[in-house]
Symmetry: C2
Subunit: 325 residues, 2 copies
C-alpha cells in the first residue's frame, strides 16, 4: 500500500460532511479515538480498524471532560506533528485526522441561536449547598455544556472510585465523536478495559449504529503495557513499574495451575507491586462482562490493576479464561 | 395530496434500514416522537414536520424509562388502531409509524453477544445503603439497561422537582430514537416546554446532527391545552382545569399592560387555580433559554404551570416576550 498524508480536519461540520460524502459513495468508516502522543498501542488499534472498514479516521483530542481540575490535564503529553509523522509512516496511512480545537465550544454551531450561558458561573454545589461529587474541567471552563452520559453500574468500580468524573467524561466525548464522525466501526484498546466495556454498554443501551471492537494490549519488550503516560516515568520508576505486568503474568499462570482463590491471587500482585515501591490503587479480579468482583475464578475474568509509581498512575490488566487454556 | 397507509415498523434494525435506504436516495427524514393516543396537538407537530422534510416517521412508544414505579405508566391511555386511523386521515399521511414493543430489550440486538444481566437484580441502593434518588420502571424491570443521559441544569427545576426520573428518561429514549431513526429534523411540542429545551440542549451538547423544532401549543376551543391525559378528567374537573389557561392568559395581558413583578403574576395564577379546586405543583416565570427564575419580566420569559385536578396532573405554559408585543 502506498503512503499518504492524512487529511487534517478541525471543524465538526467539515468532519461530518466528509463522512457523509464517503458514505454516499458506499464506503465504510472506522474511527480510532485517541488523545494523541501516539505509540505502538495506538498503532495496533489503527491496524485493527483497517481490517474492518474502507476508510479510517483517527481523532486526536485531549478531552477536558474526563479530567477533574486536580488531575494532569495540563501536563498530558502531546506532539501533534510527531503523531502525524507516525500516521504517515503507516502502510496505508489513515484517511483523516480529526483534530478539533475545542469540542465544547458551541458559540458557532449551537442549535440555539448562539445562546451559551457563558455569563453564568456553573454552580458546583447542589441545592443543599453540598459539593457535587462530579465536576470536571468542563464545568470549570463554564462552556455551558451540561449534558452527560452515565453508564451507572459499570462506571462505579475500579478507576471510577478514584476518578469520579472520568467515565462520565469518556462516555460523553465518545458519544460526541460518534455523532460527528458517524463511523461504522470504532476501535478501543482493552488496556483501558473498564472504558472499553463502558463504551460497549453505552452503544448497546443508546442504540448507536456502531460496531465496537476491543483491541489487545500492546506491551514493550519487557512487558510494560504501552501508555502515553510512560514518558513521565524515570528510568528507575520504569524498572519498578514492571512489577505490575510481571506479577499479573505470574498470577495468570498460578490461576491456570489451579489457584482459583481471587484473594490469594490479588494479595500476591499487591505484595509484588508494593515491594517494588509502587502504591496500589486497586488490584481486582472481576467478571469480564459485568466487572463485578468474584471470589473464585469460574467465569471468564479480568485481573485489573492500577498503581502509582512516583507521580505516574499506571493501569494494566490480564484476561483469564479457564475455558480457553 | 393523496391518502396513504403508513408502513408500520416494529424492529430497530428494520427502522434504521428504512431510513438509510431513503437517505441513500437523497430524501430527508423528519421524526415526531409520541407516546400515542394522538390528538390535535400531535397532529400539529406532524404538520410542522411535513414542512421541513421529504419523509416523515412518527414513533409511538410509551417509554417506561420516564415513569417512576409509582407513576401512571400502567394507566397511560393507548389506542394504536385509533392512532393509525388518525394518521391515515391526514393529508399526505405519514410514511412510517415506528412502534417498537420494547426499546430496552437487548437480547437479540445487543453489541455484547447476548449478555443481558437479567439474572442480576438491579441494586437500587448505593454503596452506603442509601436509596438512590432516581429509579424508573426500567431499573424495576431489570433489563440490564444502565446508560442514562442527564441534562444536569435544565432537568432540575419545574417538573424535575416532582418527577426526578422524568427528564433522564426522556433524554435517554430520545437519544435512542435518534440513533435508530437517524432523522434530519425532529419536532417537539412547546407544551412540554422544559422537555423541548432539554432536548435542544442535549442535541447541542452531544452534537447530534439533528435540527430540533419546537411547535406551538394546541388548545381546545375553550383554551385547555391538549394532552393525552385530558381523557382522564371528569366533566367537572375539565371545567375547573380551564383555570390554568385562563389565568395564564390574564397574566400575560397583565404583563403586557405593565405588571412586570413575577411574584404578583405568579400569585394571581396560583390563586385562580386553587380557587377552582386545583392543587398547584408549580407556577413559575422563568427565562425562555435557561429556565431560571426571574423577578421582573425583562428578558423573554415563559410562565410554566403544573397542577393537579383530581388524579390528573396537567401542565401548561405561555411565552411572554415584551419585545414582540
Amino acid at each position: 500500500m502506498e503512503k499518504k498524508d492524512p487529511e487534517i480536519i478541525t471543524e465538526k461540520g467539515l468532519m461530518r460532511n466528509w463522512s457523509r460524502s464517503m458514505r454516499a459513495q458506499g464506503k465504510t468508516i472506522g474511527l480510532v479515538p485517541t488523545m494523541g502522543y501516539l505509540h505502538q498501542g495506538h498503532i495496533s488499534l489503527i491496524k485493527e480498524a483497517r481490517k474492518h472498514t474502507d476508510l479510517l479516521v483517527v481523532s486526536i483530542y485531549v478531552n477536558p471532560g474526563q479530567f477533574s481540575p486536580n488531575e494532569d490535564l495540563s501536563t498530558y503529553p502531546s506532539d501533534f506533528q510527531g503523531d502525524i509523522d507516525k500516521l504517515m509512516a503507516l502502510p496505508g496511512g489513515v484517511d483523516v485526522v480529526f483534530h478539533p480545537y475545542d469540542l465544547y465550544d458551541y458559540r458557532n454551531n449551537g442549535s440555539e441561536s448562539g445562546e451559551n450561558d457563558t455569563s453564568k458561573i456553573f454552580d458546583a454545589k447542589d441545592e443543599d449547598g453540598r459539593e457535587k461529587a462530579v465536576v470536571s474541567c468542563i464545568e470549570e471552563r463554564q462552556s455551558g455544556h451540561e449534558t452527560w452520559i452515565r453508564v451507572e453500574r459499570l462506571e462505579k468500580g475500579l478507576c471510577g472510585k478514584s476518578r469520579p468524573v472520568f467515565f462520565r467524561g469518556v462516555a460523553t466525548v465518545v458519544a460526541k465523536l460518534f455523532n460527528i464522525v458517524e463511523p461504522d466501526v470504532a476501535v478501543f484498546g482493552k488496556k483501558d478495559y473498564q472504558q472499553w466495556r463502558i463504551i460497549c454498554r453505552m452503544v448497546r443501551d443508546l442504540d448507536f449504529p456502531i460496531n465496537v471492537i476491543g483491541s489487545e494490549i500492546v506491551r514493550e519488550d519487557d512487558g510494560l503495557a504501552m501508555s502515553s503516560r510512560n514518558v513521565h516515568l524515570s528510568t528507575e520508576e520504569r524498572e519498578k513499574a514492571l512489577s505490575i505486568s510481571m506479577s499479573l503474568s505470574r498470577a495468570k499462570i498460578a490461576a491456570q495451575n489451579g489457584q482459583v482463590s481471587c484473594r490469594e491471587l490479588q494479595n500476591s500482585v499487591i505484595q509484588a507491586i508494593q515491594e517494588a515501591g509502587g502504591k496500589v490503587d486497586y488490584a481486582e479480579i472481576i467478571g469480564q462482562e459485568n466487572l463485578e468482583a468474584v471470589e473464585e475464578i469460574k467465569i471468564p475474568v479480568v485481573f485489573c490493576v492500577a498503581a502509582w509509581f512516583g507521580k505516574v498512575r499506571l493501569i494494566d490488566n490480564m484476561e483469564i479464561d479457564m475455558r480457553v487454556m
